[in-house]
Subunit: 119 residues, 2 copies
Amino acid sequence: MNIQDCITPCTQKPKLVLAIRDAMEVLNGKWKILIIGTLMAGGKKRFMELLREVDGIAAKMLSKELQELEMHKLISRTVCNTKPITVEYEITEYGKKLEKILLELTNWGMEHREMILKG
Amino acid sequence: MNIQDCITPCTQKPKLVLAIRDAMEVLNGKWKILIIGTLMAGGKKRFMELLREVDGIAAKMLSKELQELEMHKLISRTVCNTKPITVEYEITEYGKKLEKILLELTNWGMEHREMILKG
DNA sequence: CAGGATCCGTGACGATACTG
DNA sequence: CAGTATCGTCACGGATCCTG
């Protein structure tokens, strides 16, 4: 499948637009992709670990975006009855389907950074 | 290259985070990816065509996001000395490097939509 | 036709303090 | 530790009008 196949003929809306809209609705927010990337690369993470590794994010935002990601079945949340309580976040099998996107995004980002540095 | 390779050892920041941040900085904004997708699938487009096809966008936003995309060398802007004046936007060779990302995003979006509809 | 100028509301985002 | 509550801001985004 190539990118032209995403266009339906005549005056109908391009399928591409709908699909991208759907994807963006799930991935919107300043931190979601970074959170997913961190979890995908690093396995299980606790709240505080994420707070440290996704640096710059505030606890409120992390909490909120984690909830939204969980709603969309992209990550799972597990409460461990330790003392004090700890919580583990992990990417789901469904969430792993985003790996290709993340990879392409990462590759492009690195190329782009090099291109900027060279001028 | 797989996603684990994006992690540098020990306490350093993951390379993945930097790359994704770079990419997101270029692609941020509600409409950029949709604009790129439309141009990539449909070839040259004039301002009014984009205004129609990227539906929901306001002229101000379209203008602004097109400028930013041009700054980043992802699209080109050509003024035709017709009367009244018309302008053509086209994706650049550099911009075409985003094709893989767009494709993966589109594929995932379609799968996700189906998954939602089925429940 | 392409888009700039202006005005304006909302909500995304952030800092801080607090709780079980 | 893992959050929630509260408050504040600013810029993102939209509507409308105007110009070459």
